[in-house]
C-alpha cells in the first residue's frame, strides 16, 4: 500500500521506524488496535465538548463541522526542528525587511530585483501605509509558514501566510487532547510543550506597544468579525487563553484620540489590537465605507501612534503567490544569505513562456490563484478530470495573470489510524511564528494537516483534511 515515491516519515524501511518515531513505534506495538480506535472516537467527543468546530464556506448544510483529528502524532526530531527554525526565522526576518522597504524607499524595486508591476498591481498594497513605520518596526507579528517535506532533508515553504494565519487553536487543543488520552506516552518521550503559545503571543504583542503608550501593561484585544466568522472559535479561545479582551466592531469607538472599548465602567483604551478582520473592512472611514466589521477612525489613530494593529495593514502583499516566486531573491536581498528553506519552483502564468509550459503540462501541475487561499479555486492536475482540466484551461487563457503553477510535490506521509491499522497519508506543517522587535519566536510544534483520503494531496480543512498533534522532540 505504501508507495515508495513518497517519503514516509515514520518508516525507515524493512519494518523499522525512523529514529524520531522509535519510541512511539515501540509503544504502539504494545497497544491493542481496538483500544486505539476507541480512543479515536473519544477524541471526537472531546473536541465536540470543547466546541472546536469549523465553518466551511459555501456549504449551506452542516456549516459547522468538526475537523477530524487523528491520534497518531507527527514527530520531528530536535535536529530537524533546529534546521526548520533557522530557515523560518531567516524567511520571516526577510519578509519584515521587505515590507518595511516596500512601504519605505522601495530599494528592491530600484535595484530591479522585483518588477514594479508586481507591487503596483497588487491589490493588497495599501498606499495609506507609505511612510508609516509600524510600532517596533514589526509588520508581521504572527506568521504561519506552511511547510511540506519531500525527503529526509528536503523541506519546502509552500506559503508564508504573513497576513492572518489561522489554526493555532488546533495546535493547542490537539496537544491537550493527546495529553489527556495518552499521558503515559508523554512520560516516555520528551515532547517539547506548546502550551506557552498564548502567553508568548501576549508578550510578543505587548512588546509592540504604540509609540504614545506610556503605561506599564498595554491593553491587548482581539478584534473578531463576529460569531459567524469561520474562525470565531479560535478568536474567543485565544482571547481567553492569553487574557486579552475579545471585541467586535460594535464594542469599539474612537474616544479621546484612542480606540476604546465600551465596558460597564465606561470606556477603556486599547493599545494593541490583534485583528482578525481583513484590511478592506478595518476602517470604513479610510477603506471600504460599507464595512460593518471595522472601527471608523482606527487608521487615523494608528498613524497618530496611539494604537498598534497586528498584523500591520498592507502586510497581505507578502502573501501574493506571484510574489512568492521571488522569495529566494527577497531573502538574499535583505539578509545577504542564501535561503535556507527551499521555494517550490513556480511558473508565473502572466509570462508568455510560462503560460505555454503550464498549458502543455496542466495535468501534472498544481495551479493556484494569485490572491487565493484556503485551497479554494485551485487545480490539482493529477487528480483532475478531463472536464476540470479543460474548464481550468479556459480560465487560465482568459486571465493568465491571475494564476501561478507549481509541480505536484511528492508530499511526505505520516500514518493515520484506520480500521485496518496504520495507513500513510500526506501531510503538511504550519508552525506558528511570533515577531516582536528584535525577536522571532517559533513554538516547537505547529499544526500538521493531513489529507485523510488515500492518495490525496490536498490537506486544507475546507477540502476534507484533518489534523494531527505535532511533536518536536527535546533531543
Amino acid at each position: 500500500m505504501t508507495e515508495n515515491r513518497f517519503f514516509n516519515e515514520m518508516e525507515a524501511g524493512g519494518g523499522a521506524a525512523r529514529a524520531p518515531y522509535a519510541g512511539y513505534a515501540q509503544w504502539f506495538s504494545g497497544e491493542d488496535p481496538r483500544d486505539l480506535l476507541r480512543k479515536s472516537a473519544e477524541a471526537e467527543t472531546f473536541f465536540r465538548r470543547i466546541g472546536i468546530t469549523f465553518n466551511v464556506y459555501g456549504q449551506k448544510e452542516a456549516q459547522e463541522r468538526l475537523i477530524p483529528f487523528d491520534i497518531v502524532p507527527r514527530i520531528i526530531s530536535g535536529s530537524e526542528w533546529r534546521l526548520l527554525e533557522k530557515g523560518i526565522e531567516q524567511r520571516v526576518r526577510a519578509l519584515n525587511a521587505f515590507l518595511a522597504d516596500i512601504y519605505g524607499t522601495q530599494e528592491i524595486l530600484r535595484s530591479r530585483r522585483l518588477p514594479e508591476e508586481l507591487i503596483a498591481r497588487n491589490e493588497a498594497f495599501l498606499p495609506q501605509m507609505v511612510g508609516m513605520v509600524p510600532p517596533g518596526g514589526v509588520y508581521t507579528h504572527i506568521v504561519g509558514t506552511d511547510l511540506v517535506r519531500t525527503g529526509e532533508n528536503e523541506f519546502y515553504v509552500l506559503e508564508d501566510n504573513a497576513r492572518t494565519p489561522s489554526g493555532v487553536s488546533y495546535m493547542l487543543e490537539n496537544r491537550e487532547t493527546m495529553l489527556q488520552m495518552f499521558p503515559e506516552l508523554f512520560t516516555k518521550m520528551k515532547v517539547r510543550p506548546v502550551s506557552s503559545y498564548p502567553a508568548e503571543l501576549r508578550r510578543s504583542l505587548s512588546e509592540c506597544a504604540p509609540p504614545n503608550f506610556d503605561g506599564s501593561k498595554p491593553c491587548v484585544a482581539i478584534l473578531t468579525p463576529g460569531i459567524h466568522n469561520s474562525a470565531y472559535f479560535e478568536h474567543s479561545f485565544l482571547a481567553d487563553q492569553m487574557g486579552a479582551e475579545l471585541v467586535e466592531s460594535s464594542d469599539l469607538k474612537v474616544v479621546d484620540g484612542k480606540v476604546q472599548m465600551r465596558t460597564t465602567k465606561g470606556y477603556k483604551p486599547i493599545d494593541v489590537v490583534y485583528r482578525r478582520v481583513d484590511d478592506d473592512y478595518l476602517d470604513p472611514l479610510t477603506f471600504n465605507p460599507e464595512s460593518m466589521l471595522g472601527v471608523p477612525g482606527i487608521m487615523d489613530v494608528y498613524r497618530a501612534g496611539n494604537i498598534t494593529i497586528a498584523n500591520a495593514p498592507g502586510t497581505g502583499i507578502a502573501d501574493d503567490k506571484a510574489l512568492y516566486s521571488y522569495m529566494p531573491d527577497i531573502v538574499e536581498f535583505y539578509t545577504g544569505e542564501k535561503a535556507i528553506l527551499k521555494n517550490v519552483p513556480t511558473w508565473r502564468c502572466s509570462e508568455e513562456d510560462s503560460l505555454k509550459y503550464v498549458l502543455d503540462n496542466l495535468k501534472d501541475l498544481v495551479v493556484k490563484e494569485v490572491h487565493g487561499s484556503g485551497g479554494y479555486g485551485m487545480l490539482v492536475g493529477p487528480a483532475a478530470s478531463k472536464k476540470e482540466l479543460s474548464d481550468f484551461e479556459a480560465k487560465l487563457r482568459a486571465k493568465p495573470g491571475n494564476y501561478v503553477a507549481q509541480p505536484t510535490l511528492a508530499l511526505s506521509t505520516v500514518p493515520i489510524m484506520t480500521k485496518k491499522g496504520l495507513a500513510p497519508r500526506h501531510v503538511d506543517l504550519r508552525p506558528y511564528v511570533l515577531v516582536s522587535p528584535g525577536r522571532v519566536h517559533i513554538t516547537p510544534g505547529g499544526l500538521t494537516r493531513v489529507a485523510l483520503k488515500e492518495g490525496s494531496l490536498v490537506v486544507n480543512s475546507s477540502q476534507g483534511g484533518g489534523t494531527k498533534d505535532t511533536w518536536v522532540l527535546g533531543d
Binding site: 519605505g104 522601495q106 524595486l109 514594479e116 507591487i119 503596483a120 498606499p127 495609506q128 501605509m129 507609505v130 511612510g131 508609516m132 469607538k253 474612537v254 474616544v255 479621546d256 484620540g257 470604513p284 472611514l285 465605507p289 471608523p296 477612525g297 487615523d300 489613530v301 498613524r303 497618530a304 501612534g305 496611539n306
Partner: protein
C-alpha cells in the same frame, strides 16, 4: 504674494446626531512656491481626536462630533506667502510615482475620456509639457464649467459624457486622460484668489501631472492656466476623495445641510 484666507464650513442636521467622525485636510502645506506664515483651525460642535501627516504628507485632523449635537462648524484661517512658479512644483514626496499612474474608481477612463486623450497624443509625442497643455484645453472644451450638474461622487467619465461639471470634474477628467496616456497625475485641493472678489463660493481643485525633467506641474483646466501665486495648495491625493477638505462618516439618518463661507484676499 501674501494671501489671507478664512474658510468656514458649517454642517447642520435636522435632528441630533449620535456619532460622526470628520477627517479634515484643511491646513496648507509648506512647500515649493508657498510658505505658511500663520494658520489655525477652530472647531465647534466637535472634539479633536488625533492629528497626523498622511501618506501624501497632507496634514490631517480627525474630529468627532459631540454626541447629540446638530451643528459642526470648522473654521480654518491664516496667511500664506506665495510665489509664482508657473505651476512647476518639482520632485519630492515619499509616495512612489507608480501610485499616481493607476486609475481609481472615479478616474477610470471610459470611451469619452479616451477620445479626449487621443486628441493630445500627437502633441505629447513632440513635447510632454506642450502635450499636457493641449490636453488641458481639450478637457476644458469637452467639459464646460457649469455648476449644479454634477455631485462629489461623479466620475470623470460621467462628467465627460455630460460635457459639463465643476473644477473637480474637470480635474478628474484631466487626471483620467493623463493616466490613460501613461502619465502619473494627481488631484490638488486648495484655494484660489479670484481678482476683484473677496468672497469665494467654494474651495478650488486642479490637477498635477508628472513630467520627466520638471517633476509635478499643475494644470487648472477651469481657468486655463498653470497655477501661479494666486493659488494655495492644501492637500493632494489620487483623486478628490483622498484630498477632500472634509471626509466624514455618520451614523443615523439625519439630513445634512452644508454652508461654506470662504474669503481669499491679498
Amino acid at each position: 504674494m501674501r494671501l489671507m484666507i478664512s474658510h468656514t464650513t458649517t454642517y447642520s442636521y435636522d435632528r441630533p446626531v449620535d456619532y460622526a467622525l470628520l477627517q479634515l485636510r484643511l491646513s496648507p502645506r509648506n512647500g515649493p512656491g508657498q510658505s505658511v506664515i500663520s494658520w489655525q483651525s477652530l472647531v465647534s460642535g466637535a472634539t479633536p481626536q488625533v492629528a497626523y501627516q498622511d501618506h501624501f504628507r497632507n496634514a490631517v485632523e480627525l474630529v468627532q462630533m459631540d454626541e447629540g449635537g446638530q451643528t459642526v462648524t470648522i473654521t480654518s484661517q491664516g496667511e500664506v506667502e506665495t510665489e509664482n512658479l508657473n505651476g512647476v512644483i518639482g520632485t519630492g514626496g515619499k509616495v512612489p510615482l507608480w501610485i499616481y499612474r493607476g486609475a481609481t474608481p472615479v478616474t477610470t477612463a471610459g470611451p469619452t475620456v479616451r477620445r479626449i486623450a487621443a486628441g493630445a497624443k500627437e502633441a505629447l509625442a513632440e513635447n510632454t509639457l506642450a502635450g499636457i497643455h493641449q490636453l488641458s484645453s481639450l478637457v476644458g472644451e469637452a467639459v464646460r464649467y457649469e455648476k449644479g450638474t454634477t455631485h462629489v461622487a461623479t466620475t470623470a467619465e460621467e462628467a465627460a459624457q455630460a460635457g459639463q461639471g465643476v473644477c473637480q470634474d474637470q480635474a478628474h477628467v484631466l487626471i483620467a486622460a493623463a493616466r490613460h496616456l501613461g502619465l502619473p497625475a494627481r488631484y490638488v485641493s486648495g484655494y484660489l484668489l479670484l481678482e476683484g472678489q473677496t468672497q469665494q463660493e467654494a474651495g478650488h481643485g486642479w490637477a498635477e501631472v508628472w513630467i520627466d525633467g520638471l517633476g509635478w506641474v499643475g494644470f487648472d483646466v477651469s481657468n486655463e492656466i498653470c497655477p501661479d501665486d494666486r493659488y494655495v495648495r492644501v492637500a493632494l491625493g489620487r483623486d478628490y476623495s483622498e484630498a477632500a477638505p472634509v471626509r466624514g462618516l455618520r451614523q443615523g439618518d439625519a439630513t445634512e445641510e452644508l454652508c461654506v463661507s470662504l474669503q481669499v484676499q491679498q
